[in-house]
Amino acid sequence: MNKTSASATSASIPPAFPPSAKKPMGQRIKKFVTDYKRQWEIQSMVLPGIIFMIIFCYIPIYGLSIAFKNYTVIDTLSTAPWVGLDNFRIILSDEYFWDAVINTLGISFLKLGIGFIIPIILAIMIYELNMGRFKKIVQTISYLPHFLSWIVLGGMLITWFSTSGLFNELLLNLGLISKPSNILLDAGKYWWIATLSDIWKEAGWGTILYLAIMAKIDPTYYEAARIDGAGRLRQIWNITLPNMKAIISLNLILTVSGLLGSNLDQTLVLMNSQNREKAEVINSYVYRMGMTQGDFSYATAVGLGVSIVSVILLLMANKVTSKLNDNQSVL
């Protein structure tokens, strides 16, 4: 903490070079002190935030160093011995870790593949609606699931998927199955449950931004297109979608950078002993290794690895989408 605040002070003083252009050091420190004295009231507002950030954001970032240490309960951060990349070496030969990686990627790509397009289609459909009142109702209902917590939704899903629950009932009535079964205990279906429940929860919410951008499209474009004889689909393809390119790219970047961070709440509530092998994702693995088994160094190393890969993904996605947007980064 001391170290960071010291660097904070020195960084706000302009660099000493070139010395000819600036006043001598002593004078500058004096000016610095008087400036702060004069601004003490406004500085006293910002200061708590800076202290908060140093404690709650920067100390944990420094704490990432235990990924390179062998941290046990008897150690403190400074006394734990350095072990270099040993923790990372163990990770690479850990098959449970690779299971978690495969599940994370599987679920994330399903979510990305299906879940990314649905809000766009939904938004276009809502936008094309002409009945004002009906439009409002559709929007209100589609946002609703977003406000349920994953615990609540998990509880609902467990009820819906249970042997006597809604889902089996529907399938029985439709004649698609002959015998009810608990779907959540079937590991083979877990990826789909995770994906589809996530889409059910967030698809409507995802339309808000798209709808807001669409509302800003100049209506004369559509008029001109109609005069030229363009149909509805043609208008969507040539006017609506190009206008949303930037926001779609932005969403894509954010989604891709979050690929490895599958939803922990969702996993914790839906995972059970029967579907674990297909349900364990990296985040829940970190949770299990760190919090229930107490292997702090190992869990931190996994977490750090994931963050590094996520940053790389973010940069890659930014590069690709900026190509699509005439070489302008949307970030």
């Binding site: 601004q39 917590s149 509880g155 009932e169 760190g290 919090m291 970030l331």
Partner: protein, 275 residues
């Protein structure tokens, strides 16, 4: 129409939860209803309200949401006000520090170790203190404060008011819409938050509703998996209690929904423009 289909997909499951929670244990065990329950009964709710720990969890949930939101909004507004002044010394550094926190974090374990060494484990304050600050919210408020005309501040300064006075008496009342937006965002987050409890709290007395519900779910899951012979009654009672708890946990959010929706959309826009 596809949109009608979509609404049915959203509404039917929700409706099913509500009517199931209002069904008797016997009807729940038999199952076999989608739109209308076979046997109406309030026994699940009676069971929930007889369980004093659920009442306690409700109090914890309300307290942490209420206190958490007020402190969070005030803290963020204070910092946002300071940073909205371009003349403030060290502004570049403060902003850089804030932006870094939006992209990098220590992750679960280092944060846990920090919370532990601060002595916040099993303390009510772990709901409040780490949740005080979010740079994202600071940015939103900062931009809002910038739109307040400078002349207001200048005239107050001429009258001899200090920065704190101006902030509390002029800017806070003027920024109520922005603060309400952030308060609602944060409030839903606090109400729905479950990981904080899962990570840092083992004391049952400090469990909010979400954690309580999680426990009930896990409990009924293991029960139904062990499938102890003849325990159908117990199983369906837990199922009923689970459903009733789900409804009770969600009710405050749904009750606030009409207000929430309006503010949330403007909040999404405020945030999106920054990105």
């Amino acid at each position: 129409m596809l949109l009608v289909c979509f609404m049915v997909i959203i509404l039917v499951p929700l409706w099913n939860v509500i009517i199931s929670s209002l069904s008797s244990g016997k009807a729940l065990a038999e199952g076999g209803f989608i739109f209308w329950s076979k046997e109406f009964s309030l026994e699940n709710y009676r069971a929930v309200f007889n369980d004093s720990t659920i009442g306690q969890s409700f109090v914890v949930s309300v307290a942490k949401t209420f206190l958490g939101v007020i402190t969070h909004v005030f803290f963020c507004a204070m910092i946002g006000y300071g940073l909205s002044k371009r003349y403030i010394r060290g502004r570049k550094l403060y902003v850089a520090m804030g932006v870094i926190t939006m992209f990098f974090s220590g992750g679960m374990i280092p944060t846990y170790l920090l919370i532990k060494s601060l002595g916040l484990l099993n303390s009510f304050w772990v709901y409040i203190i780490p949740a005080l600050f979010s740079y994202y919210d600071v940015v939103i408020l900062m931009n809002f404060f910038r739109n307040v005309p400078d002349s207001l501040e200048e005239s107050a300064k001429i009258d001899g008011a200090g920065d704190w006075h101006i902030f509390l008496k002029i800017f806070i009342p003027l920024s109520m819409p922005a603060m309400a937006t952030i308060a609602l965002f944060n409030g839903v987050g606090q109400w729905n938050d479950f990981m904080t409890t899962k990570l840092y709290i083992t004391d049952q007395a400090l469990y909010p509703l979400q954690m309580k519900l999680y426990e009930i779910i896990v409990q009924s899951q293991t029960q139904s998996m062990q499938n102890i012979g003849g325990s159908v009654v117990i199983e369906t009672t837990t199922k009923g209690v689970q459903l009733a708890t789900i409804v009770i946990t969600t009710l405050p959010i749904v009750a606030m929904y009409p207000i929430l929706q309006r503010y949330f959309i403007s909040g999404m826009m405020l945030g999106a423009v920054k990105e």
